[in-house]
């Protein structure tokens, strides 16, 4: 597995520069029911397609950012800092 991610701070880098943070799962705003809490903590959609996910530029600026990546092809459609997305 190998592809290039564009860190919003540093630019295009090999994926080995980064740490994968999993798909973006928004934290519930209110206390969820027990079942929903379990879903939030343990269940992932694991889509075959474009997925919004977290990445951490560990070997670079140590910033977390989000990316849309196609899990079938590893084509990254875009990356941005979370505040850009708000």
């Amino acid at each position: 597995m190998s592809f290039v991610l564009t860190c919003p701070n540093c630019g295009a880098r090999e994926v080995t520069d980064f740490e994968f943070g999993g798909e973006v799962v928004p934290r519930p705003r209110e206390r969820p029911a027990e079942r929903d809490l379990a879903v939030y903590n343990y269940f992932r959609r694991n889509v075959a397609g474009v997925q919004r996910e977290w990445w951490y530029h560990r070997a670079g600026c140590r910033t977390w950012f989000q990316a849309d990546r196609d899990t079938r092809t590893n084509v990254v459609q875009g990356t941005w800092l979370p505040r850009d997305d708000a």
Binding site: S2, V4, R27, L37, N41, T63, W64, R83
Partner: protein, 941 residues
Amino acid sequence: MTRLDPQPGERIDRDRELSFEFDGKPVRALEGDTIASALYAGGRRIFSRSFKYHRPRGLLCCAGQCPNCLVSVDGDPGVRACTEPAREGMRVRHLNAVPSLDRDAMRAVDTLGGPFTPPGFYYKTFKRPRRLWPLYERVLRRAAGLGRAPEPRDERGWRTDYRRRHADVLVVGGGRAGLAAATRAAQLGADVVLADEGPEPGGRLLERGSAERARELAAGARDAGVELISPGTAIGLFDGLAAIWEHDTLHQVRAARHLIATGTIEQPLVFPGNDLPGVMLSRGARRLLALYALSPGRRAVVATTSDEGLEAANALREAGVEIAAVADLRQGTTVVEAGGRRRVRAAVLARVDDAGNPVAGTRQTVGCDLLVVSGGAAPAGSLLLQAGGRTEYDPASAAFAVVDVPDGLHAAGEVAGVPDGDAIELSGALAGADAAHAAGCGDARSRELAEEPRRELDRLASTPPPVAEPPAAAGSGRGKCFACLCEDVTAKDVHTSIEEGYDSIELSKRYLTVTMGPCQGRMCQLPAARLIARETGQQLESVGTTTARPPWSSVPLGALAGRPIEPAKRSVLHAHHRELGGNVMWAGDWRRPYDYGDPDAEVRAVQEAAGLIDVSTLGKLIVSGPDAGEFLDRLYPNRHGNLKPGRIRYGVLVSDAGRIIDDGTICRLDDDSFYVTTTSTGAEAIEAWFAWWLADWTDLRVTLTDVTQALCAVNLAGPRAREIMGRLTSLDCSNEEFSYLDGKRARVAGVPCLLLRIGFVGELGYEIHYPVAHGQHLWDSIMDAGRERGITAFGLEPQRVLRLHKMHILVGQDTDSESDPVASAMPWIIKLDKEQDFIGRWALEEFAEHDPALRLVGFELRNGAVPHEGAAVVASGDGAVGRVTSSRYSRVAGHAIGLAWVPRDQAEDGAAIEISDRGTRMTATVTTKPFYDPDGERLRS
């Protein structure tokens, strides 16, 4: 040595001799020789023994494409003698023969074993009695195989490196097409890398005596700014990345466009005896001639399906080789048998029908010592196929063509189906321009100019030279016809496997291992497909080819593993610890002193006088900003926002699932900033954890600064620690002015420090954080000040013993990914009455409502034994219900103490638990209070 007169462009330097060793005997070579060319010059014709039948094999391709000349060099097996340059003093050995290449006892397998060694014979014949299989396997593995794995070596002596290279255009293949493409792309401003696997770039120019032209083209490419990796072998192309192996570097080239100009591979013919030494591909014969000035034979017969063999015949004749006969299949004649035992003595030529059977009365035996064969040229399309291309059978060229070249890739030259000749360079230049333009180079004018030659190329490419389709196997059916030289698969084996039901090329590959050997299908893909087509009555188109996968060329495993590196983190005091006699061990990524020779004495010193330990490995974060307190309140289950400046609190970090992930201390420095420590192993993960939530909570004005590597930290602990501090600082260290859980900034021995009064080891103590530049100065100052007060440096092991006495947990030792603070005996750390939400709150609320099944408690064991960490806590007579996580002998208590997870009904003071330790049962007593100074009087004193 028998060399011909100097050949134009030959690679050898006749004035520079060198010598190496082959099977213990000296071999003379010229600078520029390969191992094989030097051996050939010395008269050697048998270069290997075959995989299964131990048949003698000689040079076939002379280009690193077949398995016939695999040798070991200085202990490394799998080296191709025909491409490996001869070096002074190298030790070369044959691989698969006992006792020698020329007299191999295992040859009996060939003469006797035929009927008994069908495909998969080892599973069919040697499966009973079953218990003897290990013995059979040992014998079979020794008999077969392609050499032995080298002896393990000092891993640091093995040097391979990865190199990442980003480029606009990567060109694989440095023949005319590749060089033209690279040059053109570079001229258009592209950053171009070209990899070529030959001894020098030039491709087929080299075998044709046009090395001077090749060198001109290569120089042109260099002048245009192309980076040449030569010799460099492309082993795979996937994920937009090409892996290229060059001597001791694996280049990982990621280019905007990949341009494949890998040419074609000349195909052998299938007939009885087609593997005899002396049977040589036409290109191989020409390489021996042109590059090494060697005559491949004295009297040659040529069998060909295209003009290529005829050109070779001309070249050989010019070099003085007698051409005894030429069989051109396009005229209906081909070779139907090669005669000879250890090498070719004669070729039998005949007219054949479509199935390859000789037409009666046309057989003709011609004596020769060289049988040049040319069965057409198959595109070397593996890289294109790995990247997603498809094959389609092309009857005009009698080979599988690559179609549907995937996006982002270009193909040029013969691999793209462009016929040999003037069109080759043109197609290269065109593809180079296309690739450069696609990568964003060039301009409108250059795009327009690039269109002109396209029509010319179409014209040139419209009349490919004629090629005859060779029969799947020629001859009368007697004698072994090899379809696959690597794995010794014969035409008959293919027949048998299809009768047994393995009737597709993919099944055939798995059953016969055809295309799976060192040649990776270069020599056998097409012959195998033809045989399957014949046996099953299918068209070649529907037989197809096997899936192309990396590696396309064999590489040492070490090339893929890269340089062995063990990243080690060392404190700035590391060298000093060694001088002090520290026994250094791994602690996560860190190298830390386990002890300084006497852990018991170190424990005693801390409890009775003073000790000093380097804790620079702790993670250290400064959290600052107006919302710093709020941020920590959202991360930790207890309160920090209300912490007063100069005060310290212990904190446990949990996930939203309520599981402990780390612990440490938080000291409020002033209104807006906090100093947070994490565990040594958790430092990086916790920085990432903090940064992650900070990225998510965009409403918070908080700055995170990692000072882990900027600051040293040492812990001075023991009843005499205050006295020692008094000698080093003007700060009032009295218990009233500097109490337990106070944090103060002061100069110690002149060094600006942050002093934290905390007590992981259970004694009065000061954790001193200070700039790394003063690392050893402060350490030495403290040791000097404490010398008369009995100070000792102490290591990790005594620290572990001391903290266990206090029942201070070690995250990751006493807890795992399932542990929560409620069960881990720290319910006091969770403040569910806290106003705001915090990470883990909901899960902890759930946990608080249920009594956990297991609890972490202390235990004492008075039978004199010290159970191993990991020993099971068992219910009476039954299996494990819990486990021991920490366990040590306590000098103070006079018996073993420890921590263990036990069922909740046994998690009470005085309860008896059963421990099963490697077969020994013992009964321990549960305690929930610290084993030492349970009320913390020493800590607070």
